[in-house]
Symmetry: C2
């Protein structure tokens, strides 16, 4: 919404090019879904994207939004915040700690870090308000999954 037109247009151009390269069809729906996302800095959910796109394509279904965003995420054209249809997970470890998340098996391991303990809140983050806590999420392949990795 508040993004400068040229940023959006640059993203759209890169998107079209990436789709051609990856042999993803440039359907009317796909383009508009990406445009709605590329025009926002709000990390929107499917419902709000649907609301926006419906102005141009009144019959578009939520499933099309889901399907396209999932496809684009698999191709590295958009990113997903939040755990796709995973369950809530709990932890009795209330001390400050960070997470190592295996991108293959989903296993989460806690760790603490002396170095990080003394890192201050980044100035860029403080610009948004009053930081309270800081949590690092390291993604990678855990030792077990590392062995059976194909790449």
């Amino acid at each position: 919404m508040t993004l400068p037109r040229e940023t959006v247009e640059a993203r759209m151009a890169a998107f079209r090019e990436a789709c051609l390269l990856k042999r993803l069809r440039l359907t009317h729906q796909r383009i508009e879904v990406f445009r709605a996302l590329a025009s926002s800095e709000e990390h929107p959910d499917v419902e709000s994207i649907h609301r926006v796109v419906r102005k141009r394509i009144p019959t578009i279904s939520p499933d099309t939004i889901y399907r396209n965003l999932k496809l684009l995420a698999e191709h590295g054209l958009v990113s997903v915040a939040g755990m796709s249809h995973e369950r809530l997970r709990f932890d009795a470890n209330m001390g400050p700690h960070h997470h190592f998340v295996c991108v293959k098996c989903g296993r989460i391991r806690d760790f603490t870090s002396r170095e990080l303990q003394h890192v201050a809140f980044p100035a860029e983050a403080r610009a948004f308000g009053a930081p309270v806590s800081m949590h690092l999420e390291v993604k990678g392949f855990c030792s077990a999954c590392q062995k059976g990795r194909k790449t």
Copy 2:
């Protein structure tokens, strides 16, 4: 499961004390739910906690697990990994970036940090496997919510 007995017992003692202080009733179910969580380092979900607790309390319902964990989380006795029943959110910003999350309104803002860009993966994280990416989540009150804060 693999946690030393004394760690679990220490957590149980602290839990009982905290409940007395906060006037939370020490029901059989609540105690066993917490014990199951405090005995694990797997960040278990409700289903696996339910499986464990059912050995001691065969009639316990999943709702009781949910209700207690939610209550304990509100009182700062356990923590929740993942976004509590929130929707998937998407982002067209594919460059490396971090998140500032407002704990009140839930708004997410992106930021990049020159300092953090060059921080290496912590040794403690590398011990678990092969790190690929690193993402920082700063939680706090955004400027807008900061004003109307009561505390």
